[in-house]
């Protein structure tokens, strides 16, 4: 009797799972955007080296490859020693810089490299971005992983979710005006994830199951929210105008509200972290450029998180917001809309042009410029005229 009940219970669970899977596939396909991250020796997450996996949404179907160094790149990592005449640009950021929902040639990193090459600059982009990273994790990566590659420029993204991520990670805290590492690692769910990822069936599940993806996303949201609340209370983050910036959602497009986690954080901590990244970059002989990831309110309306959350950026910064607004049309998608809202190839192309143009205009890559370099990358006018191609 007990075995029969047990079997019935198990059968009901399996059947419910199958029902849910079919239900979602038929009525509300979920974005399948696995991350393939593991724990790094430096206490923060890292992309799994040498893996290739599929990302699928109702709008895209792409393969993402991490090379042996865990960088999103279809090519093997370059040697540590920099070849003569080549400059290196290190990318620090989250899934926008990783290039989620984009094929490698259309990702931000590949387009940035192409833009610089077109301008006659021999530069290699090294992509250290990891999905879900905030500035605190970027700082650890800048201190521990990047220097050995001897970059000339570091481009770090600033995203609306960063303030909440910085609070949530608990990697650093402010002691007066001084930024102090807490000494704690931040590897949320990595132990469990590593165990599960060792099982091929689980890998199949995360790349193919709509039900799993939906459940995981919701559970992730809840856990993230709780972590922010707990860490915020511990850090005593205030809710005044300095600490919190609420980005109003677009009234007519409720599904396109600001990214989750936007609007929570501690602006003093954020500024201290950014300044620390600049210091670490300088120690490694590189210049830091803070790059804005605009918040999408509609196909034609974008907000600048740097302007909204930081006011005046404490380091050199650039935003593609005005370039996005210049080309925006109701029939043009710069962000995917049915997945995780990452940039489309058009969005990546514009963002990469803005970044390349800014870097070149600052003369930070002068050592790697060939004769007649710097002309073709100044494509801002072309962007504003709307002449973009995927």
């Amino acid at each position: 009797m007990r075995i029969r009940t047990l079997l019935l219970g198990l059968g009901a669970i399996v059947y419910s799972g199958l029902f849910g899977e079919l239900f979602l596939r038929a009525l509300k396909p979920q974005p399948l955007v696995p991350r393939y991250v593991t724990g790094g020796a430096d206490g923060v997450r890292a992309n799994m080296p040498d893996v290739a996996f599929r990302q699928w949404t109702p709008e895209v179907d792409v393969t993402v490859r991490y090379n042996a160094a865990g960088m999103r790149d279809d090519r093997p990592p370059p040697p540590l020693a920099k070849p003569p005449g080549e400059c290196r640009i290190a990318l620090l950021g989250d899934s926008y810089f990783v290039g989620f929902e984009s094929a490698w040639p259309t990702s931000f990193a590949a387009r940035l490299e192409a833009e610089l090459a077109a301008a006659g600059v021999k530069a290699r982009v090294l992509n250290f971005a990891v999905s879900g990273f905030g500035t605190a994790e970027n700082l650890v990566v800048m201190q521990r992983r990047v220097p050995q590659w001897r970059p000339d420029v570091v481009v770090m993204s600033w995203h609306a979710t960063d303030p909440a991520d910085n609070l949530r990670s608990g990697l650093f805290r402010l002691n007066g005006d001084r930024l102090q590492p807490t000494g704690q690692p931040f590897l949320p769910g990595i132990e469990l994830s590593d165990r599960l990822m060792a099982w091929p069936g689980y890998r199949w599940l995360i790349e193919n199951s709509h039900l799993y993806s939906a459940v995981r996303e919701r559970a992730g949201q809840i856990i993230k929210g709780l972590l922010v609340a707990v860490r915020g209370a511990e850090a005593g983050a205030d809710s005044g105008p300095e600490g919190f910036v609420v980005v109003p959602p677009a009234p007519s497009l409720p599904s396109l509200a600001p990214p989750r986690g936007a609007g929570q954080g501690d602006a003093r901590l954020d500024r201290a972290l950014i300044t620390a990244v600049e210091g670490a970059a300088a120690q490694a002989g590189a210049r830091l450029l803070l790059f804005d990831i605009p918040t999408r309110r509609s196909r034609t309306d974008f907000l600048s998180p740097i302007a909204l959350m930081l006011g005046e950026a404490p380091v050199p910064a650039v935003s593609p917001q005005s370039a996005f607004s210049a080309v925006a049309r109701p029939d043009l998608k710069l962000y995917w809309e049915q997945g995780h809202l990452h940039w489309t190839p058009q969005g990546n192309a514009i963002a990469a042009r803005v970044a390349a143009r800014d870097i070149l205009s600052r003369g930070w890559l002068a050592a790697c410029m060939g004769p007649g370099a710097g002309r073709s990358a100044s494509g801002h006018e072309a962007i504003e005229a709307g002449a973009i191609s995927p």
Binding site: A12, Y15, S16, F19, G20, F23, L24, L27, K28, A214, P254, S255, A257
Partner: protein
Amino acid sequence: MLFQTPLFFIFFAILMPLYAATMQRLRLQNAIVMVASYIFYAVWDLRFLSLIITATSVAFLLGPGVAGQEISRRQLRHALLFLLVGCAASFVPGLPGTLFYLACCLGLGVALLVFVPWANRQDSTRRAKASLAFGAVFNLGLLAFFKYFNFFADSLVDLANLAGVELGYVTLKVVLPVGISFFTFQKLAYLIDIKRGRVQPEDDIIKFGAFVAYFPQLVAGPIERAGHLLRQFDTPRTITRQGLATGAGLFLWGMFKKVVIADNIAPLANLAFADPSAASAGVLWVGLLAFTFQIYCDFSGYSDMARGLARAMGLELMVNFNIPYVSRTPSEFWERWHISLSSWLRDYLYIPLGGNRGGPIGTYRNLFLTMLLGGLWHGASWTFVAWGAFHGGILILYRLAAVDKWLDGAPREGAGAMVRDLGLIVLMFALTLFGWLLFRAASMADVVDYAAGLFSHGDLLAGAWGQLAAFLLPLFLVQWLQLRLRDLEFLPRVPGFVRLNMVLGLVFALLFLAPAAPSAFIYFDF
């Protein structure tokens, strides 16, 4: 506290074990229900808790008086204690208006201290009349103040302005307490039923408090009668597996109607009604149909959820909706739509006005007045008045044409009957659509723009027809089964495997097809 939010699930998860643990201690269980209901209400606005407590005390104390009995010192003591403790508990220093409500409570306490000895000195007939008059004036006064003050004041100002007189100072900003129309009508019905000898006055203020404030039906009905719900608080309840299962089924279906259907089609209605003059005919038709089903799914969803919760607790609330859009005539529609209100209006307004006893003219007048006041019950707006008048008008027209009488004598089976019924249903649905246009429009000018646009703005295929159809499909399927099986709760009758799939479908739809942010029920505004 919305039924579909995690906060409510936590609330209910805490309440149920306490409720179940006190099955053998009826008075304690009633006290738990009452306090839980007050907490449920206080989450919206603690200040207005004093309103329910005040109204409960008054109705409790007047009950024996309306029955012609002497109001005892014990009853007076209990009512005053209840009033003062409740009002003190809902007093929040610093909250706007809280001092006003406390002062009103104290003033009412003094009024009761004066009224009760005076009433006790009168003979029973005079005492009954005076007590009923006190109760009616008090309850209708509350409703008039909170719900209609602004409307009548604004209308007076407009009228005076037309005559060249400035009266701008009359307007006050009175906030509408959620559910006031529902619990006011419930208490009025209690007093009138005592007067008519249908129920006995309640002697236990805790039990009476639980009846008045019972949380599943407190803010949006069904408007329960004392003879039905109050009597259920007399006897021990039982929680059964069947009650839990069917209650959960009702709750799930109600939540599906609200969260998945109503909330997903609401944007279609909002888009069309936002600027009717600028929308194409297709968008306007989709918007009107969307609102027609939105308001039904929203309100009947709430009623089903309320009934499901009550059943899980071993209590039964009345059926409030019975597939209204398959009605053939206006009178049938009102027997199927918001049944607790339409039967209330019939019993406590239409019949006291004379019902159909005053000849055809009197009957038509009473029908029209009842529907007009039914419209006004929904809110202080000319569009609601017009909606009530429209329904009164079509009730009269159908009565003049003796359609219901003709149907009573006509054959019920066969192809001819089916075609006839279908034609009548389509006609009645079209009339209902126009009624909802009056109900939903922001102003009478919008009604004109909208109605004109339906037939003159071209491009009928524009608008989200597919989206509307996709969300209505499960509703049509379930209602077809309800009609075919002649059972609103047919779920236990279908084979186990089909039932499992239907429940799984509901659960997954609730989890994954609901809009991200929960929205309040439409009838909370009434």
